[in-house]
């Protein structure tokens, strides 16, 4: 078995209003004037676990991201990285 570490970002889908992103945008505007400012707020997750190989690890991390970390009705997820790490 090998040890893997996956990093996942979950964001609101483009057609779902990102209310926290809007709030962040207002907050940033109050601090600094920036041209064409856009903000998005999401969640970042880091999950480490053991798996036989990279293929199996990717299957697991994908399932976790789909079933628990995100809701496909309103969110998308992206596996930013999946690396083998030292035990």
């Amino acid at each position: 078995m090998k040890k893997f570490c996956g990093k996942i970002i979950v964001k609101m889908k483009p057609d779902v209003k990102d209310i926290k992103g809007e709030a962040l945008k207002q907050a940033v505007k109050s601090v600094v004037e920036l041209h064409d400012l856009q903000c998005a707020v999401g969640n970042w997750y880091q999950i480490s676990f053991c798996a036989k190989n990279q293929v199996e690890a990717l299957k697991f991390i994908d399932k976790i991201a789909q079933d628990i970390l995100s809701n496909e009705v309103i969110e998308t997820y992206e596996i930013k990285s999946l690396e083998e790490i030292d035990e």
Partner: protein, 200 residues
């Protein structure tokens, strides 16, 4: 009203189970708690997922509760299921009801009594939620059970509650169990429970 048998699921972080049980007692229904880790094996007339903050709303409201043995063993289509507030969120997360509940439009926690359009009548029910903004692409409008008169949280079509008649599942954000008693000045919750009983 006759004695219904009611199961009230309790999750870590649920905080409305006693108000819900008390409402059932008031209506003369037999209710008992069902722990999140127990599969539902008894036959109930109604199963309620009450309000609260199951699992601390970690990741998202109802996201972890949907994985519990109690939710996974819900007898869909056989028993009336009612999700109130966090219960509604859990049912949506479980895909047992369409759509999702996201942050209220002003990112505030709404805690107030508000007017709800329900069964061609305007009733008053309390709200207490942060993620009560209902969103659903392609909602079947025949499933809309109740709407906000003032839509404080920004829900699509001002939806406050939905009812999947085929699978006997109701989800609603307002708290009917908190509107049962003359002493509190709110009794319209009784109308919601009476409607549910008539549907069983």
């Amino acid at each position: 009203m006759s004695k219904l048998k009611v199961g009230i699921i309790v999750f870590l972080g649920t905080n409305c189970e006693y108000d819900t049980k008390r409402a059932c007692d008031f209506l003369g229904w037999n209710s008992e708690f069902v722990w999140q880790n127990d599969k539902i094996q008894k036959k109930y007339d109604l199963i309620i997922l009450p309000g609260g903050f199951s699992y601390g709303d970690y990741i998202s409201s109802g996201r972890i509760a949907k994985l519990s043995p109690a939710v996974k063993s819900l007898p869909i289509g056989k028993t009336m299921i009612l999700g109130i507030c966090n219960g509604f969120q859990t049912l949506c997360e479980s895909k047992l009801l369409p759509g999702a509940l996201i942050d209220n439009k002003n990112i505030d926690f709404i805690s107030k009594v508000t007017e709800i359009n329900f069964q061609n009548e305007l009733i008053s029910l309390p709200l207490a939620h942060h993620q009560g903004n209902y969103t659903c692409k392609n909602i079947d409008k025949s499933q809309i059970l109740m709407t906000y008169q003032n839509n404080e949280n920004g829900s699509d079509f001002a939806i406050a509650g939905i009812y999947d008649k085929k699978n006997k599942i109701i989800g609603m954000m307002p708290h009917p169990e908190r509107a049962m008693y003359e002493e509190l000045g709110l009794t319209d919750g009784r109308k919601v429970f009476k409607f549910i009983q008539n549907e069983i």
